[in-house]
């Protein structure tokens, strides 16, 4: 196969799974990150403790170990799931732990005066968070969230190791059948780069657009 044909073949078979895993895991991570980050700021010690455990466990052990654990160990406890589910769960939980720290520190970096002004205007705690603090914190978080999205996208290559048929998996299959090793792995690197690079640029643009004239 020509280099071009290899790229087309890889894209045709693995791109959808790679992107699907990325999107689903990113959504899960964002949701978990916001829930965890807000809970970390709770007045209730017990709630803070629970989140701390979640964050430390998922940050403290390796993503690949978590992926294997969810895919190979959970079935022993009767929790059998598809490779895609396991992949989304592992990556989402792992990045959710990191995201919750981003959310926490973002909220904490909003000027205290904003809270005082909201109290003076008689906002409830929920209104204050939703209307005043989080919108500002979100802009502060954007650079970090953008970086995490790129890292998350790259980490989806690990799902090949639990036989999910993403780009990396397909490259291995193709390698075994065609033995065009150099071209295949070069093509694979290029494909990842061509997706990740515009993502990096896109996040930077979003950042600029959101801060324009306001901050």
């Amino acid at each position: 196969m020509s280099f071009w044909e290899l790229i087309v073949s890889l894209l045709g078979q693995g791109l959808v799974i790679t992107l699907l895993t990325t999107v689903l895991a990113a959504i899960l991570a964002l949701v978990l990150g916001f829930i965890g980050g807000l809970m970390r700021l709770s007045k209730n010690k017990f709630i803070r403790f629970i989140v701390a455990i979640y964050v430390e466990v998922f940050r403290g052990t390796s993503l690949l170990v978590q992926l294997f654990w969810i895919y190979f160990v959970l079935p022993m406890f009767g929790l059998t799931m598809s490779a895609l589910t396991a992949a989304v769960l592992a990556i989402g939980l792992n990045y959710g732990a990191y995201t919750s720290e981003v959310v926490r520190s973002g909220i904490q970096s909003v000027d205290k005066g904003q809270t005082e002004a909201s109290i003076a205007l008689n906002f409830t705690r929920v209104q204050r968070m939703r209307r005043i603090i989080i919108p500002q914190a979100f802009i502060l978080m954007l650079p970090n969230l953008g970086n995490q999205l790129i890292e998350l996208f790259k980490s989806t290559s690990l799902v090949a190791l639990i036989t999910l048929t993403d780009l990396t998996y397909q490259a291995n299959v193709l390698n075994a059948t065609t033995l065009q090793t150099t071209q295949i792995f070069t093509a694979l690197l290029v494909i990842y780069f061509v997706i990740a690079w515009p993502m990096t640029k896109g996040m930077k643009m979003l950042e600029r657009k959101m801060t324009e004239g306001r901050m």
Partner: protein, 217 residues
């Protein structure tokens, strides 16, 4: 569900593989520290070609997955006559990948040193090398030490990827045991616990360092 006897039986095997994991981390980290600094200096070079090439390489490495880079080193290099042991290939992959992150850390450290320091170095007639080694780096590195330490821990947690290129580190050892006995629960859990036991105290210590550093700088 969980068999303590079995767990204690497999623990020594897994723990003995820990040293492969740790040495891969250490060698990879040293490589990343050195190569990262080279990238930074190249990118700062006045020669546009050197600077752009280094910048391009760093961007490419940063925007592609470590796992694929490992495959590339392990499977493609031999096509050009360069066959590497799994450990060597793994360490090069890890080191190269994280060198691009460290390069960014060095850059931010260097940029945090004010322009006045460069001017003073010129005024005192330091040559370029002395300016870097005596004035700029001693100021640029300490504030970013916690970030550098963080990358060390991150690299440690990335070493299981080396199992994909057949390096028998702790995850691969656990997998091998699991494949032989069809019991994955204990070996895989032990691997997770070992990572947590090693990385959590390290990150707590780093947070202390970070507090000290913020107080000082």
């Amino acid at each position: 569900m969980w068999d303590w006897n079995y767990a204690f039986e497999v623990l020594p095997d897994i723990a003995s593989a820990l040293w492969v994991t740790i040495s891969a981390t250490l060698v990879g980290f040293v490589l990343a520290l050195v190569v990262g600094l080279i990238w930074t200096l190249m990118i700062r070079s006045n020669n546009k070609i050197i600077s752009n090439v280094a910048d391009g390489i760093v961007k490419f490495i940063r925007n592609t997955p470590l796992l694929v880079q490992l495959y590339f080193i392990f499977y493609v290099f031999p096509q050009f006559g360069l066959s590497l042991e799994p450990f060597t290939a793994g360490v090069i992959g890890l080191g190269l990948h994280y060198s691009t992150y460290l390069s960014e850390v060095y850059r931010s450290g260097i940029e945090s040193v004010g322009p006045g320091q460069w001017e003073v170095a010129t005024a005192l007639n330091f040559d370029t090398r002395k300016t870097w080694t005596r004035i700029i780096l001693p100021q640029a590195i300490p504030p970013v030490l916690p970030v550098i330490g963080n990358y060390f821990i991150t690299m440690f947690k990335e070493t299981p990827l080396l199992s994909a290129i057949t390096l028998v580190e702790i995850l691969q050892t656990a997998q091998n045991i699991g494949a032989g006995t069809f019991r994955y629960t204990e070996p895989l859990t032990i691997v997770g616990v070992l990572f947590l036991l090693l990385s959590y105290p390290a990150s707590v210590a780093l947070r202390q360092l970070e507090i000290r550093v913020t107080e000082r700088y």
